[in-house]
Symmetry: C2
Subunit: 196 residues, 2 copies
Amino acid sequence: MLEKKSTLVRKEEIIQAALEVIGKKGVRALTIAAIAESAGMSEANIYRHFSGKEQIFSALADFIGSSVMGKAATIAAGSRKPLEKLETIFNSHISIIADHPGIPRFVFSDDIHLGQSSFAETLALRVGNYVETITGVIAAGIVEGELKPGLYPRETALTLLGMIQFTALRWTISNASFEIRPEAEKLWQNFLVLVR
Amino acid sequence: MLEKKSTLVRKEEIIQAALEVIGKKGVRALTIAAIAESAGMSEANIYRHFSGKEQIFSALADFIGSSVMGKAATIAAGSRKPLEKLETIFNSHISIIADHPGIPRFVFSDDIHLGQSSFAETLALRVGNYVETITGVIAAGIVEGELKPGLYPRETALTLLGMIQFTALRWTISNASFEIRPEAEKLWQNFLVLVR
DNA sequence: ATACCATGTGAATACATATTCACATGAGGC
DNA sequence: GCCTCATGTGAATATGTATTCACATGGTAT
């Protein structure tokens, strides 16, 4: 039998195992059996710590929300120049995706958004806040003269996020067939040409 | 009992029904039962015309490949100016998404790409060709002076596609909570500011 | 030391889903 | 008209998945 640990520790282990399953096999493959195997515990034990799949999804959403989108907000609130902030957010986002491919899959999974999940709205709200955060940085960049005038801040933010998202998508559906960081770096260089 | 029709007709009906299911409920919900209900026929009848789910997926991929990506190639091969071609491809792509929300879901579904689907590679290849097609148009635009020099054609193409893809994603996961065409139009206007 | 209770588990349960089968039906060639 | 075969279907089958249950175990407060 497995060594006993507190439910707090087990919850963390289960969430990480779930993220790993999504990263390797997609949201569809996120079954209780798969989580149990990845976490190295019995299926029944999952239910000791979570009331069901819905609650695991909810915990995943919380983890992602605080780790990914919280980080961007922190960077945006700093004192560096807008373009430097954007680059830092961009690289941070790419790094997180490279480390946890399950994150973009989860956030944009239609299983989550089209199912009866109660937290889909919360997740959509967080994405909305993320867009606003970046919009603010871009607007500041225009005011300070780092970015060219005439740009629409919100649309430029959406373009940047689309660039990141599309890269993540191409990378994950190709089963990491290319190196994501050099690819992202090229896109960032081109983004600089676009916005200046 | 249902009126009898040729297997050719039924195949088409089944594919359309499947696309509708994906559009409304996501790839996860694409069960034989759901297709049967959407197509108004029995589950067993689906098997009269397709050997199984895998073959339905394959037929979906063919339909999407010839309708969506073929159209872009046709436009790209035309004689208009590059920027005009890009706008036409962009609008055509948005229109197709608006009419068939199931298409982007299917193409970028991890169910497809992470499952054991034999045609995932074919699909990835088609996406690659699509990127190349747009890259070519952008390169021509730079040469002809419509787009600013210094742009990297491939990265700019990826940025444009990311913009489209991200719009489709936001639109579908929000259950069509905003009008996609006006949103796309704003993004296109901003894209013009970016590339000129 | 002991009793309690949180933690851990194999087995049972209920339901969903893909696929097959035996049989029905009717359109078209003769 | 009638025979045949493609088309159509309800029921059965097999497998997958979420969840519950009865029981085991061991850490810890007393």
